[in-house]
Symmetry: C2
Subunit: 624 residues, 2 copies
């Protein structure tokens, strides 16, 4: 695998791509620039190897980034999490565009500044989201250029050994995991459609389709999803998927393919690729008032099949919203998954404490050990994202992933940061802990304590019903800001239930403005950090559940919300400068550690994991 | 004046308006709905009497609100500041649409729900902003309706005694007040135009034009502006204004109308009304690459004169941005204005304390006294907005203005809230204090203390350079939220320098997402509140200056900012439950009061205002 932290040499690839950009086999006129977004045709965040086109062309393999190649230039935009990593993975042919910094131009502004007059900018319409297309097209047009669709993907043209699209077996999930049958979900969706006078709904996001049908797959590493589309009308349900996958009798029975209970719950199945022509056929038969719901983040290709007058684009689909609010069964599952996950992490930390002094534990072996311990837990399916196991300066690379050539040995002298999580059949986890196994410096402790203060400020925040998550972001930063510090990433993301570890429509970020209000039952992460380039990284992450809060008053009967931590893993007291904590913050830490003892302690006891239990008891002693 | 808190009877007016909506004298086909926005042709917040069309048709006279009349319905949208007031001023023909509540439909959604198929919705293109037009038009079109321009304003058609447009004398401001000549401002504007490859700039906002030319007027009450447009190219400056106003030799000399220093600084003057035809002429002569800057909040009428290919709409003009960052002269002027203002308020509060027990002071007489005391200060021009002087339940009407029929007597038993400010030639003020002259209840003190905590949290916040004001809004609410309380308005707005008391492009609000980052030299208000309907209102407002902050660290050399209060009026200690304050908050209060003593005390001494000085010294004793 070409995932090394040494730069990928791209001279020859860029030459070939630029040749393709001039090759009239692909379009009527040559294009002067080609955009390579990072997503797939479903705008997935994590993608299958066959879809890693941006990585292929520039070498940078982070989860977010867009490459643009012109005749003279090649540039790649990514956010603060990836500045270091991208600069290490790309060669000199590429300019790194650091998003979020004042001096960094937008893709549009940059294109306008480098392109000759009347240029054509090409993009694969399946890979670019409809809303991105619209914004980009508007900006380019107003500067005298044009954005054009290129049906053949030009990266695929120059990619000789491109892997094929995966088609893994499907897993069916019963009521004990989902709490709601797919039939009930379809019925609820149709009720929303009726309410908004919508006749068709096109589902393109892979996690929404998996959630809707209570199915899971493993087409994309870490994400239990499968390549599919779905179109739902009032009398039909059309599922587009590699038909070979539906041969499994369990799947056939689950979907009632051979004996639908009611005609309107009859699922018609079609090959994955035929979604385009089927949607065309549906559109050809629309009545004048018919409206089709499609997410404005769906592909430009599929969106443009729907005539504008019939298109009703939405920032978040009703499935996305319904999926975000977990039902009682899902919440129970998420709680169980987090207890099991805490057991594995307590074991890991007890083990690390013993092993690190021997000098034999590396970032990779620690990550492997974490996976091994998690895999011993019931219903373990796999990791929910690549483990970030980082020591010292590697900790400052926000989405670092240890590789043989960067692998550092854990020591008593450096801060260790581990951000990891797993998929269990009952839930998804994502937790970050930062620890020191020797004696942390005063500055490391100071920064850790500011991050902890931010974590607590969000976790303990009480806010009115209807509040959007982005309004809480500054709470996480206030203590850092006061000392002139900050971190260049958001504070939290939605977390799926045995689904994607990142999901919409809510989050906690200074960047997110289109987020939906937080509601009881939603699950998000709370993960402020601090990164000292070349020295260390700190992040503290819990997954938290939005719950109703009891307050002294109740203005306009709006009701209040707060968070309940689902993650129950001790936060290292050794890293805290407890003098910087207020009494309220100390109380929070003590109450949190009391719950870790109570809940995870009982499970460790039950599983007979004595060393981990002893570690837990010691690490959760109250601070004064 | 028809500003009573009893509802305006609108049966006959609505009948006439609906008749006009069907009268083909005004358009080719009848319209099914007519929108009446609250602004004027310059999208001013405060407007001249001739432009109070929304008030005329529905009776509601708050500063923000949009009325829509259909054949069957009449509805008016306004925000949380005005819910009570609007419900009292409108009769049963009108439905109050409470913006910001979940159940309230947007104007677009409401129109779509009530209109018959294929309806035409009319609006005066001079009164609606271009961005509002675009959004409304898009929404209506997608639902099968259309938004159409109606050149004759239909409110004017039914408004028999409509006042004429004011044309007050112009005031010229010298360098000692502005710190920058209009010639330098034009040169800086042209530099921005060069930088962004812009050939023309159209100024439509009245405060921007006043700022650009260092001129003031009094066409709009409380706002020292004058009706005008300006168009700036590289070789010409065109000013559109009632030409009679330019007869004054001082104005002629100031603008160098008779002897321009350089050809490119020659101001050509045109009648106010000719801006439309002049802009048409400019557009007719444009080269293919010429671009015109116009604010996307400018009128739809003027925006649409510019062919789309030549239009470069911007959310905030370069004048708006330049005006927001005050120079050293302006900052010095603002400081002086706030000291004079504090002198007047200290006198007012000392006087109230003496007079209230006699039972003779009313909301109106207190407001009059405040104006009288301010008018004794040097360079006083007038008030900067109508004084909100409110007792007990009236305090819960957020933008209350006392009227004879609502006028309450100040007493020892009720909370008194006064939000007032003035225009001085050297600066603009805006300050709110909430006081009790007897013994406040525990609940009143509790709420006041939460509001104070919020005020301090914003005022003392330290944040990185480049932070947008909306990221600070939640700091103002955290203490209220924790107890289940909140307030339904933003936390702060930009403040002009001897200009509008509300100005863009920065502010502190959960609603503002298009705000520009805060910069040293910007001036905003910090004014959280709490309103208990039917009982009392609390608000604490200081005008604060953005200043660099010294921090222990300096992440990525970004630098940090904080606020320095310009308002220096004691905050009533009697209203505080000091036990709810942290030590840091107590320190803030004591340091603030120390500065009030030092700065305002010296001025009171100088002006020989002994009683006020004694009051100040007593009210600023340190709390423990």
């Amino acid at each position: 695998m070409d995932k090394a932290m040494s730069p990928k040499i791209t001279v020859e690839l860029l030459r070939q791509l630029r040749q393709a950009m001039k090759n009239c086999k692909y379009f009527s006129e040559p294009i002067q620039a080609y955009i390579v977004p990072s997503g797939d045709a479903h705008q997935s965040e994590y993608i299958a190897p066959c879809d890693c086109r941006r990585e292929f062309i520039c070498g940078f393999n982070g989860s977010a980034g867009t490459a643009i190649v012109t005749e003279q230039h090649a540039a790649m935009w990514t956010d603060g999490r990836y500045f270091l990593q991208a600069s290490q993975q790309m060669d000199n042919n590429w300019t790194l565009m650091k998003m979020g910094l004042k001096e960094t131009p937008t893709q549009e502004d940059w294109l306008i500044s480098v392109l000759p007059e009347n240029s054509k900018v090409g993009v694969d319409p399946w890979i670019i989201a409809a809303d991105q297309w619209t914004n980009m097209s508007k900006a380019l047009t107003s500067a005298g250029h044009s954005l054009v669709t290129v049906q053949d993907n030009l990266i695929d043209v120059v990619w000789e050994e491109r892997p094929s699209r995966p088609s893994t077996p499907l897993i069916t999930l019963g009521h004990e995991y989902t709490g709601l049958s797919w039939q009930d979900k379809i019925t609820a969706l149709r009720a929303k459609m009726t309410e908004r006078k919508i006749t068709w709904f096109v589902a393109t996001a892979l996690d929404e389709i998996a959630w809707l049908f209570n199915l899971r797959g493993s087409d994309i590493e870490y994400n239990p999803v499968f390549f599919a589309y779905a179109i739902v009308g009032f009398n039909t349900i059309r599922l587009f998927v590699d038909l070979k996958r539906l041969a499994d009798p369990a799947v056939r029975a689950h979907l009632q393919l051979d004996s639908p209970s009611k005609p309107e719950l009859n699922i018609q199945t079609f090959p994955y690729e035929s979604v385009y022509t089927e949607l065309q056929a549906i559109c050809a038969a629309l009545g004048p008032k018919d409206k089709i719901w499609i997410c404005d983040k769906a592909s430009c290709a599929l969106t443009q099949v729907i005539p504008k007058a019939h298109r009703s684009p939405i920032p978040y689909t009703p499935l996305c919203l319904a999926k975000a609010v977990k039902n009682a069964t899902e919440i129970q599952g998420m709680k169980m998954a987090h207890i099991k996950d805490a057991v594995a992490l307590c074991e890991l930390f007890a083990w690390l404490e013993k092993e690190i002094p021997k000098g034999t534990v590396t970032e990779i072996s620690a990550a492997d050990k974490a996976e091994e311990l998690r895999s011993q837990q019931k219903d373990f399916v796999g990791l929910s994202f690549p483990t970030i196991s980082s020591v010292g300066p590697n900790g400052a690379i926000i989405h670092y992933r240890p590789l043989p050539e960067t692998n550092r040995t854990l020591s008593m002298n450096e801060v260790y940061l581990i951000d990891s999580g797993a998929q269990y059949t009952d839930g998804t986890t994502d937790v970050t802990r930062t620890m020191h196994f020797g004696t942390p410096s005063a500055f490391e402790k100071e920064c850790f304590t500011y991050v902890l203060k931010g974590h607590i400020a969000v976790s303990a925040a009480v806010f009115p019903n209807g509040t959007k998550g982005h309004l809480l972001d500054s709470f996480a930063r206030a203590a850092l800001w006061e000392s002139g510090l900050d971190y260049l990433h958001g504070t939290g993301h939605g977390v799926g239930c045995f689904l994607n570890v990142h999901e919409g429509p809510c989050g906690i970020s200074y960047k997110t403005f289109a987020d939906e209000p937080l509601e009881a039952g939603m699950i998000v992460s709370d993960e402020p950090g601090y990164y000292e380039d070349g020295s260390f990284g700190i992040r503290l992450e819990n997954v938290v559940l939005v719950v109703p809060a009891k307050t002294k008053h109740n203005y306009r009967n709006r009701g209040s919300l707060t968070f309940e931590p689902l993650t129950l893993v001790p936060i290292q007291v050794k890293m805290m400068n407890t003098e910087l904590l207020t009494q309220k913050e100390r109380d929070w830490v003590n109450e949190y550690h009391r719950r870790c003892r109570e809940v995870v302690g009982a499970e460790l006891e039950k599983q007979g994991r004595k060393e981990a239990l002893a570690w837990l008891m010691r690490e959760t002693q109250p601070i004064v």
